[in-house]
Symmetry: C2
Subunit: 202 residues, 2 copies
């Protein structure tokens, strides 16, 4: 059973958090979810729905997996040195780091993606060069698995990435069970990415 | 701009709420989201993520659209007469009633689906006959649009239904924009439903 910590910050993108959380949360025998923010308490998504951060970064328990969502709030958090330091420190302690959407920008700014393969949201692609000049950004990808680091493309792509991570930890049959239970059509090809073209990147 | 109220109850299914909320929340010029539960405060999903109910059923503002999610909690709420009465009362006042997954069972139990076309989760299909004997249940459907009532199949199907509702209110171009912004592959065919077969219903 893996402790999976999900970072929250003001103006996070709701589905970046709740898409993967649904998938991981359907198999509690494999993953225990905890939410963490700089301060414990309610954190508002850009969509207006407020989610509880059960822990502060100060009192967050030991994690096996750390997931960083994206959203408009990343534009502020890229300058939050306290949070970036915490990300760098915790990332060194976990076995797997995940990001969804522009969450990759926070990992990049924390120096965690240098010389690594990673992807991010396709609508805000220009930010990848600004915040991660030394990252090997993959333009066309639903998600990128680089060992102890798995980054996904925008918003919904986090759901496909989560199923991939479930497959890594618990096998294909379990991942398929999760997709079927949630009546989700899993996009299983990490290279499937029509949104790169839609956003003029290919 | 439509006021869209999302009902929460203990053990709601996280993505039933947050999938549609993401889609509607991306176009705040068309939809204003509010969350409501029997009591104001934090409500825990089955997946462990806690979401804030901003209003109680007592002080909930006037709504244009009411959305009822599903989840394990519906097995308890089908016997919650206070909540079912509120659902019946509010449903008479709104222009559109939505359900995701087993949320349809609560609408059925409140008498709102009698002689109407509706669908629900495919894994828990046996509950449809128990709680809605007089409903015209549609076995194979991603969602069913019956005018002022739109019901979706399980969990992820709510996302496709939400895009359909966005299309109804704001047009196809806006719905497509939302799907592209969230990098979501919209399943646009209401009759597309492989999960009916997977669950032995066809």
């Amino acid at each position: 059973m893996k402790n999976l910590g999900i970072l929250l910050f003001p103006n996070f993108e709701l589905l970046d958090v709740c898409g993967p959380a649904e998938m991981f949360g359907v198999v509690p025998e494999h993953f225990k979810l905890v939410t963490v923010a700089q301060q414990r308490g309610l954190v508002a998504s850009t969509q207006g729905i407020e989610v509880m951060a059960q822990y502060s970064t100060e009192d967050c328990p030991a994690l096996d997996i750390l997931m960083v969502p994206g959203g408009m709030g990343t534009r502020t958090e890229v300058d939050n040195r306290t949070l970036l330091s915490w990300l760098a420190e915790r990332s060194a302690q976990v076995q797997l780091i995940l990001s969804v959407c522009t969450g990759a920008l926070l990992l990049a700014k924390a120096g965690l993606l240098d010389n690594r393969n990673a992807t991010s949201n396709k609508r805000a692609w220009e930010l990848t060069a600004i915040h991660g000049p030394d990252v090997r950004w993959v333009t066309e990808a639903r998600w990128v698995d680089d060992g102890n680091l798995v980054t996904s493309s925008g918003v919904s792509a986090g759901i496909d990435m989560a199923l991939h991570v479930i497959e890594r930890y618990a096998g294909e049959a379990v991942a398929e069970k999760v997709a079927n239970r949630t009546e989700y059509k899993w996009n299983r090809d990490p290279n499937w990415d029509p949104f790169a073209m839609i956003n003029g990147l290919t």
